[in-house]
Amino acid sequence: MTDYSVEALELNKSFGRRLIFNDLKFKFDKSGVYGISGPNGSGKSTLVKIIAGILGASKGKIVHKLNDQEIAEERLHDHIGFVSPYLVLYEEFSTYENLKLFAEIRGVKFNKERVDYLLNKFLLYKRKDDLLKTYSSGMKQRVKFIFALMHSPQLIILDEPTSNLDDEGKNSVYELVREEGQKNIVLIASNEKNDLELCNDIVYLEKYKN
């Protein structure tokens, strides 16, 4: 059990002069599954991007802490796993090459056992040496989960995790969410009822519109 916490402090985001959300506050400091919900265009993806440190907030900030130590912005990516439909991996490389390159660029050792375990879990082991451009969209979605989990992050952010997946794929995702939720923080941004049923606590974005 790791002592990881993520907290939003009076977060505000506007695009130009259009307000997305205002005065958003939450704190997740126990391992578990948390949800972010809101209608289309309410800023779910924007919020998860801000949490992941990809996008800057207009006001306020997100504080990530590990064992009560605030994590520096440029180290944040080592503690976060991120899956979303708009995430794209390198099509000219195979799954295995992609994952190896990512480990090298992160500057961590390539953990073969974990990657093989995840490849088996997502039923991709047999095709790990095929180029990504030969994959179907569902398979690409599954590779993204391996990408997000290979470095054993403490915060796993899933933006619409079950889009593009068949029932089998959805089941392995749910299984994984429950498993990871035992020891880490899992954040799901989604409108799907099934996805949100897994969550211990949900942030409703409609509440922060003014």
Partner: protein, 234 residues
């Protein structure tokens, strides 16, 4: 209101005095300008050309400062202030180039001769031309503000190079250039008291005019943005 009338009178006086006052060999009356050998009537350009060049520098410098402020505070109003300043800078830059080129035709014999200052102002035209092209290619306000601010910062660090490199590579014709045989700026040496007075009045007048135009400019852009937003909301 009173200062607008004052500004009008000041600029009117500068224009009339700058163009109309006669140039004589031995100035005695308060309205007479001294004769500068080699320049004669051409010397009067100084009342209009120098202020435009000066305002080009002021405007682009202000634009850079507001770009810098935007990057620090991420306030879109700063970006608009920077934009309004750059617009005026561009206008004055073109005016300075044109007045300079016309004058150069009469004084130096050709419109353009790649004197260091001509090259520098040409570089400024290029930089801000590119800057406006960049801005017009980006839809999202925030992205436009950020990227154009970064570009002004990068352009700003090249300025010292233009100052040091140009005079070394090409020979100068402007007063005050390293190889100017008359040594030293015209302002100190060859202008008499009333010429200097009119010159500085003109500088002050044009500077006030610039700040007023800048103020009106950025406020009108702000208002337009607000109106657009209201129209979209219905």
């Amino acid at each position: 209101m009173i200062w607008k009338i004052f500004l009008f009178l000041l600029l009117a006086f500068v224009s009339i005095a700058g163009i109309g006052f006669p140039i004589v060999e031995k100035p005695s009356a308060w309205y007479e300008f001294p004769l500068i050998p080699g320049l004669e009537e051409n010397a009067k350009i100084i009342f209009f050309h120098v202020p435009t060049a000066w305002l080009t520098v002021i405007a682009f410098f202000m634009s850079t400062i507001y770009s810098f402020k935007y990057l620090r505070k991420k306030n879109l109003d700063d970006d608009i202030k920077s934009y309004a300043a750059a617009q005026l800078g561009m206008i004055f830059c073109i005016l300075a180039t044109v007045t300079g080129a016309v004058w150069a035709k009469f004084a130096w014999g050709s419109y353009w001769s790649w004197d260091p200052r001509q090259t520098s102002i040409f570089a400024l035209l290029l930089i801000y031309g590119a800057w406006f092209a960049l801005r017009s290619s980006i839809e999202s306000e925030e992205k436009r503000a950020t990227l154009s601010s970064v570009y002004s910062m990068i352009a700003f660090v090249t300025v010292p190079f233009f100052i040091f490199v140009m005079p070394r590579i090409m020979s100068g014709l402007h007063p005050g250039s390293a190889d100017d045989s008359n040594a030293g700026p015209v302002v100190d040496f060859k202008m008499n008291g009333n010429m200097q007075l009119i010159f500085f009045l003109s500088l002050i007048g044009f500077t006030i005019l610039y700040f007023w135009m800048w103020n009106v400019g950025y406020r009108s852009i702000l208002m337009r943005e607000k109106l657009n937003k209201q129209l979209i909301r219905g």
